[in-house]
Subunit: 394 residues, 2 copies
Amino acid sequence: MEYAFSEKIAGMKPSAIREIFKSLADPSIISFAAGNPSPLSFPREAIAAISEEILKEQAVTALQYSVTEGYGPLREDVKRRIGEKFGIDAAGDETIITAGGQQGIELACKVLCNEGDAVICEEPTFIGALNAFRSNGARPIGVPLRGDGIDTEALDRALTEHPEAKMIYLIPTFHNPAGITSTLENRLRVLEIARRHGVPIFEDNPYGELRFSGEDTDTLKKLDGDRGGVIYCSTFSKILSAGMRVGYVTAPAPVISKMVIAKQVEDVHTNIFFQILTHRFIDEYDLDAHIAGIRALYRAKCGLMLDRLEKDLAPDVDFTRPDGGLFIWCTLPDRIDQEYFVKEALRRGVAVVPGGTFCCEVGAKSQSFRLNYSTPSDEDIVRGVGILGAITKE
Amino acid sequence: MEYAFSEKIAGMKPSAIREIFKSLADPSIISFAAGNPSPLSFPREAIAAISEEILKEQAVTALQYSVTEGYGPLREDVKRRIGEKFGIDAAGDETIITAGGQQGIELACKVLCNEGDAVICEEPTFIGALNAFRSNGARPIGVPLRGDGIDTEALDRALTEHPEAKMIYLIPTFHNPAGITSTLENRLRVLEIARRHGVPIFEDNPYGELRFSGEDTDTLKKLDGDRGGVIYCSTFSKILSAGMRVGYVTAPAPVISKMVIAKQVEDVHTNIFFQILTHRFIDEYDLDAHIAGIRALYRAKCGLMLDRLEKDLAPDVDFTRPDGGLFIWCTLPDRIDQEYFVKEALRRGVAVVPGGTFCCEVGAKSQSFRLNYSTPSDEDIVRGVGILGAITKE
């Protein structure tokens, strides 16, 4: 039988990154393309010990159906932790545990946007968010990202031109893919603009705890205080395990209550075993010490990659210098054809993600590409950047 | 700030069942309301042993990001198992691993339906499916369920009257909530009608392996052969663990490929640890023997409940006699006000789910209610049915 697909899904392509991820089964390829945390960031021994405890002490709870909003003790942990780490006072807010941060983005769009509505976002931005918007029939509208954060004049203009915008999606800290952290001034200005237009901000902060240099900037959620204008999302994917799919959203109660309804029909609840495991890790182990280890690892890896980029790339290639997170964003000069560059790099055994992937318009041209430093070995970083550098100098 | 919600979500209420489930924290209530598998159906020792193995032997794979379509060896297991158990030849089909059967339903609706499209379903039907359709802006259209399956004349009429119907959602085996298994004749007729109207069938079969009396009837998927008209969905929730959220859909490749795209933005992938665990259980343990134990348990529990219903209910109360699954469907005579009955039962300490919950029209009147026998203890079944019976005789 011939199938006809819904308009919102029919035009969508699988995420280029997931596709690249699949092709990376080839071990001879040096991959700077993935967005994976380092396997060294998984506390394997602790996870094994906690798993054993759970299956001895509370197996039935861990294997039975559970409530959609998430495991109570973990929701309390989240509230406490975002208070301690980011000064977020979630007193008037609620928290929902999601299947990774990805589900948080998708649910927020689903509860706020009708088909044809718009979501304003930085350009470039996270491909998983762009596709989440598209899959709900919402249209992503890109606003340029500068060195200090989103272009606030352009944001103001976009909100005026698009009264159908229902959400502003931002990754202000250690941006994916751009590696940029927006300044305090920029954040205050963004909040003022969003408030004036009456449009809520979705603050995606999956990498917030992975700072390895510089000082923390206040989150939008903290700066917004009790105004309820910011939906805050994060995840345990980068600090405990990505494969377990445990993330969360903290937002005003009416938003969370609608997200609970939308999540109920997507998966009933996030797998409860790993919700309990995450709670027990926070409760019984030293999450801060564990994260300090990940930071040190990424500091070293990012430092090495920046060092080699400095040495090996042609001087007219531009790149960002992140203070945390997983990504560096490189921009080629006009003399180099980016499409050729990406293909040639892969031919010589180095995978990077072309910048167009992160644009609102499908198939957009870009002179940029994204590099990841958390996954490759030190040897691969040195060798891989060497190969990229050689292409930029030909 | 004041939030405005999307039209498709704004009108939705949390599932009454999930809400009842939450209220059941009160241990003095005898609950016939849940849809949970018996905790005795979780192979705890095996799950503990396999968890230990996984975290020793393949921890990085089990904790890292994975591919959206699911763990390869588990997809192969599914293909083999539905072939062996249900004679389904999935040679031309693909399989996606989902976060429980719930996600399979939701994704199918998302990829097939635009807002305003219709999904034809049995009335009554699974509340999680109804809400999945609503959350995508699709309208469920109910067709009465009879003792031998969906009313085929009414189905034919509904498909003629609703050219905007994009899917027929059916639970032909051990129906939830009605406990009915449709006959072979009914199934053949349904397939003929669906084919004539060119509308695909979504066959939801979460309880298929839980037969405890009678002989298997061929699945719609098997009867459809290689015509590609049936999207087949099932889950490991009722035979291994509900809390782990591992289900699957097998369907023609173009459908699965669109579902992969839609799933990617919902949760990237189903938690990989429990996908590996399920594969290892199938590979290293005797799943059939384990299921035989669950069947024996439910045979006894269902038998006990039917026995007590026969003895305790007023003779003008009607109820179904399931050959498998988790549910019995009772229908009160007109002399009893159903709303009063359900409230009075709860006041006396017995929770049941009112039939209107399972209707396409929100707030629909019904003389029926659903009973679950898999979760309550034998003592509670005897005492609880006694209480229900007393009300029917007053």
